[in-house]
C-alpha cells in the first residue's frame, strides 16, 4: 500500500509535474511534495522524549495536538546547529499522523514540470541524505533533491 502511494506520487510528477516546497538543510536545496505539508511554523519549545533515536527531537504542542518533531540534520547524519529565526518546522502528515521536520531555512514553493526531473540518485553522489531522495530536479540552473517523505519519516 505504502509503496503504491509513493509510486503514485513520483509518477504524477513525471507526468503532470506538481508543486514542491523548497528548503535548505546544510546549504543543500531539498524539496517536499506540498500535498503532504499541512503548515510551516517557526521553531517552538520542544519537550524532550527520552530513549528514542537522536533524530527525534521530542514533541511540540500545535493547537492542543502533541506532534513529534524530527531533525532533518540529524536524520541526514549532519551536526546540529543552533536554531535561529530562520529555523523552521515543516509539519507534514504521513499516514494520517502529523510529524514536524526541523530544517535550516524554507525558501519557496516551486512548480515542477515533468521536464525538470533528471533522474533518481545514481552512483557517484556522496550526499548522506541520498537514501531519502526519490527524485532529482534541475531547474533554473539549480539542483533540488526531492525527498521521499515516507522514507524520511517512517524509516
Amino acid at each position: 500500500m505504502e509503496e503504491v502511494l509513493i509510486d503514485q506520487v513520483t509518477d504524477t510528477f513525471a507526468e503532470d509535474g506538481g508543486e514542491i516546497l523548497l528548503f535548505f538543510v546544510n546549504e543543500v536545496l531539498y524539496g517536499i511534495d506540498i500535498r503532504f505539508i499541512t503548515e510551516i511554523i517557526g521553531i517552538q519549545p520542544i519537550t524532550i522524549v527520552p530513549l528514542v533515536p537522536s533524530y527525534i527531537k521530542g514533541v511540540i504542542n500545535i493547537r492542543g495536538k502533541v506532534v513529534p518533531v524530527i531533525s532533518a540534520r540529524r536524520k541526514f547524519g549532519l551536526p546540529e546547529i543552533d536554531y535561529d529565526e530562520k529555523t523552521c518546522i515543516i509539519v507534514v502528515e504521513v499516514n494520517e499522523t502529523p510529524v514536524g521536520i526541523i530544517v535550516d531555512m524554507v525558501r519557496a514553493v516551486q512548480s515542477v514540470m515533468p521536464g525538470d526531473i533528471c533522474s533518481s540518485p545514481g552512483a557517484g553522489t556522496v550526499n548522506p541524505s541520498d537514501q531519502y531522495v526519490s527524485t532529482i530536479i534541475e531547474s533554473d540552473g539549480e539542483i533540488k533533491l526531492l525527498l521521499d517523505i515516507h522514507k524520511l519519516v517512517l524509516e
Binding site: 519537550t47 524532550i48 522524549v49 527520552p50 514533541v59 513529534p68 499522523t97 510529524v99 519519516v153 517512517l154
Partner: protein
Amino acid sequence: MGKFEAGMEGMIDTYVYETTTLMEQLDQILIKSEAKGGFDDDIINEIFRIMHTVKGSSAMMGLENMATLAHSMEDLFFIIREEKPVIRSYERLFGLIFSAADLLSGEIDLLQDDSVPLTDFSAQVQTIKEYEKELRSGIADGTESAEKTVSVPVYFERQDNPSGNGESSVKVYFEDGIEMENLRALLLVNNLADECTIVSHVPEKLENNSDAAEEIVQNGFIINFVPVNGLQSVLKVIESSGSIKTYEILNGGGQSDGKAEKLNADLENLNLNTVPDNDTESAAQIQIPESEQSVQPAQQMRPDNSTPRGQQTASQPASKGKQSLISVNLNKLDQLLDMVGEIVITEAMVISNPDLKGLRLDDFQKAARQLRKLTDELQDIVMSIRMVPISGVFNKMTRIVRDMKVKLGKEVNLEFEGETTEVDKSVIDGLFDPLMHMVRNSMDHGIENTAQERIDAGKPPVGTVTLSAYSTSGEVIIAVSDDGGGINCEKVLAKAAANGLLTKPESDYTDKEIFGLLMLPGFSTNEEVTEFSGRGVGMDVVKKNIEKIGGSVSIESKAGVGTDFIVKIPLSLAIVDGIEVSVGESIFTIPMGSIKESIKIKGNQLVKDTSGREMVMLRGACYPLMRLYEIYGLEPKYSDPYDGMVMVVEAEGHSACILVDELIGEQQVVVKPFSAMLNRYDVKRNGMAGCTILGDGSITIILDVSNIILDK
C-alpha cells in the same frame, strides 16, 4: 449507499444497532439451549420473534437477502412451534441455526461498506428449506395445511387464543413524511402479536404494497384485535413503537373508553422515548444508565438468567414502566469527554495563572475551590456515562468457546468472574479481538488434547477456561486463565531459537522472559497451523491491540497447572491526577495513584546493598533508588540524592524510590497518547504512558511507574 432503500440512510445506525443486539441475544439463547440439548416453547417463541423482527426491519431497509434468510429461519421455527416435529439430530439443527445467525451478523458488519455487494444467501436458504422438508417428512401424514401455513404470516393463526376482552380497534397515524408506512404498520402488527390476537387490519395487504402506504397516510392504519392481557398492554406496545404520531381507540371492546384524555400525555412520553438522532457517523451506540442504580444495561443478559427475556426490554424498551435508558451516538460522548478535558486544562490555566502570583485573593481561592469541585464531579459523571460492564465482551466468548469445542473435540467449560466490572466503552471495543485470540489460544494450546491426559494429570476431565475481571485503584485487570498443561519453557526456547528470536544464550532466559518470547512477532509453537491459531500472529496481535488501548499483557504459567494471560488496562484513559516533577530541563508528570510519598532524604538514609545497588532506608524498610536522569539520560540539576527529591512510588505491589530534582506542583492532566511514530520506539516499555499539555501550553511526559520500576 447503494445497498439501502432510498431515504433509509438515516435509519442505518438504528437498524445496525438493533439488529446487532438481536443477533447477540440469539447467540446467547442458542448457546444456552444447546447446553440444555433442546428448545422449550418460550425459547422457540423468542427465536421466532427475533427472526421475525430481523426480517421485517431488513425488508424495510431494502436488504432483500437478509430478509429472505431471516424469513426461512422464521419458517423453520414456525414448523417447530406449530407442528412439533420430532427432531432427530439437534446437533444438525443447531449447526444450521448457528451458521445462519453468523451469516446475518457477518452481513451487518459489511453493510456500511459499499464496495462489498450484498451476499447471496440462497444456498443457505435452500439448505434450511431442505431441512424443513426432512422435518416435515418425520411428522405423521395429514399435514396438508402445512404447505399453506408457512407462507401465511403467523399473526393470523392465533384466533383460537383465549380472549377475556371483546374485539377492539385502534387507528394509528404515523409521523408525517416518515415513508414506508406499510412496512412500519407490518412491524407494528408483528410487535402486537404477543399482546393480542389480530383479527384484521386495514389496509389488509401490507408487504410489497406501496398503495397501502398511501392509504395509511390518508386514512390511518386500523387494527382490529382481541387483547390477550387487556387493552392497556396493547396500547403500551403501540406507544413504545417508534415513529407513531398519534393513535385513537375506535372501539375499546369490553374495556372502558375513558382513556382518550390520557392519550396526549402518553404521547408526550412517547416522544421522549424515541431517539431523534439520525447521525450516520457511527453505528456504535451505548446504553446510558439514567442513574447509578441502573448501571446494568437492560439488554445485558446475565449468565444466571436462564429465561431469555432480556429481549423484551431491548426491543421494546418502554413496554415495562418508565423508560430509563436511551441510546446515544458514541461520537457525542467522545466530544463531551474532549470538552471536559479542555475545561480541566482551562481551569488550570485560570487558577494557576502567572498574573495572579503573589496576590492575596481569598475570595478567588474560595471560588476556585468550588470550581474545582464541580469540574471533578463533571468528570466523574462523564466517565461513568462511558462505562459499560465487561460482560458484553465476555458473553461473546461463549460463542467462540462453543465453536471451538465442536471443532477441536475438547470438553471445556467457560467460566466468568467479575463480569459486572465496568470499563470505558472505547476499551470494550478494543478488547474483543485480543480476548478472542487469548481464549482461542487457551482452548487450542492450553487445554490438554484429550480427557485422558487430564485424568492422568489428576485433573477433572473437562477443562476450564476462566475469564475474570476486577478493578484496582487505577487499573482494570482482565485475565484469561486455563487449567491446562501450562507453557513448556523448553519447547518455547527451542522454537524461538529455530526462528532466530533469541538474543542471548538459552540458559540466561528467565521464565518471565521466555513467556515474553511468545508475544514476539512470528512466534508460534503449534506445529500445525489450525483454523484458530498457529499462524504466528496471535499473541503478537494481542499485545499490539492491548497496547493500542493503553494496556499491557503478561503471561503467567505453571507446568501442569495452567496458564494465565493477564491484561492490565488503565481505568480512565483520559484524565489523571498527577504531580509534576522536574529533572534538569524536563518536566514529568507522575500519576498520583502510584505515589506513596515524597521525601527529602538525610543523614544515613542512603545505603548500598551487597551488589552495590543504592537503597533508601525509610522507617525500617529498604527501597531501591532509581535516578530518573540516569534512566533517561538527562542532565540533572542535582545528581546527589541528598539534594534532590525522592518520590516513593508503588506499582503492582512493588515499591521503589525515584530521584528527581524538584517538585513543581499538583495538577489534573488530560492524557494524550503518543503518536504512532513514537510508539514504534517502545516508549511505553520505557515508562512513558503518554503526554499532556499543561495550562501554559507546554508538554510534559506522563510516567508509567510500573514499567520504570519493574523493568529495571
